[in-house]
Amino acid sequence: MAENTNNIPKTTSAFLQNQQNLQLISRQIEALLHASDAPLTELFLKKQLSLTSLQLEQALSILQERLSLGSLTLNKTASGYRLQIADNFSPLIQRVFPQRQERLSQALLETLSVIAYKQPVTRGDIEQIRGVSLSSQILRQLFDKGWIKEAGFKDTLGRPALLHTTPLFLDAFGLRHLDELPELPDIQALAQFNH
């Protein structure tokens, strides 16, 4: 028996060592993702842990597999990787922590949609499209959540600030790119507004 174990070819032993190393890396990634308050990019992980792209990919897949034994999943969002609770536990969490369920008002959702689909837009643009004056309360809520930001000015009278959505907005709605937004419905389809 002892002889047998000694006869394990070098490649096998190297393979085992590599596997162990990837296991360790996967645990390090897990710890960093838990310690960070924002998603972490591939580039960041590779740089901080001195990994090749292949190592990162393998370690992430080991991590994903290990997490699947429990209740978490590794999720790739617009701004990087994050750990989230598997969807099938959402009903449980919603039941146990009902206070965490935030309802967004129609006015806020419409304002956010105008910014997301028509960006960059000014306050005036939003008011023109929605046909109502925009309460600063709503804009403040959106800024507070970090879903929108001001960048640049429109070259018109008063040089109003231009509003854009942020990666946090994408993260919050499970989108990786702006082009993953639900498609704007066709006017023809909308024509029959009675559905």
Binding site: D87, L104, R130, L181, F193, N194
Partner: protein, 277 residues
Amino acid sequence: MTNLAIKAPNQPDSDLALRIYQTPINKLPEDLYIPPQAFAIWLEQFEGPLDFLLYLVKKNNMDVTTMAILPITEQYLAYINKLDSSHFELAGDYLLMASTLIAIKTALLLPKPQVANDDVDPKAELIERLEAYAQIKTVSARLDNSARLDRDVFLALASPPNQESINACLPKFSPDLLTASLLLMQQRPDYQLHSVKVDAVPLAERIVSISRQLQHAGSKSFFELLDKSQGSLGVVVSFVAVLELIKRQAVALITPHDLQDFDIQLSNLCLEWQPKS
């Protein structure tokens, strides 16, 4: 409010209707008096005049693109007339729309003007706005239906490791900070026990003294060059003297290679005699 149950037309596919005594009312009967407050509350459920217009279009089973503007306008104005003056803050946007509608209505009723300003067709413009708004209203509902963080999707929170284990990895303060602070303490004149006597410290004399010391010792730290009896003024004058000597290239600054520029303080300033070649 006691007898009026008003159903909010919030849900996109709910039956948009005003209910009185549980009975859905499809339009406000001419003969029924509805308190203006109740009407205002009902109107508040809409996101504005465009939303309200869309509701009227739907209620009349019309198509946005081909809707007949006149009946819609008349219904809109009939409702808005019920708003009394105490709801002006709500009415503002609605009144603006009303004036637009009246303008469209007038244009339709009057014989067609012949010329140039048909590039601005207020009716087409209104329909365009309604369409654009309907698009946004639809996507905002879809956006709300998508799995949202903290409502449908939850981040995995975990506490950081024990503070002691983090502390163990924090960079240590240098113990030399302690002795340096004591040296600095010594340089400070004793305010409590003595009145501060400011002895003039002639710069020329300090330059001579420092040159002599360095010439003799080769190199010394700034603190070793001080004459402690001269107090804080002595420190300042000695510093100026050192600067002067550096400028004359009689002495040079020794920078330990492991120090960054910003680490150089009086406490680690070292000087070296530069023999004239």
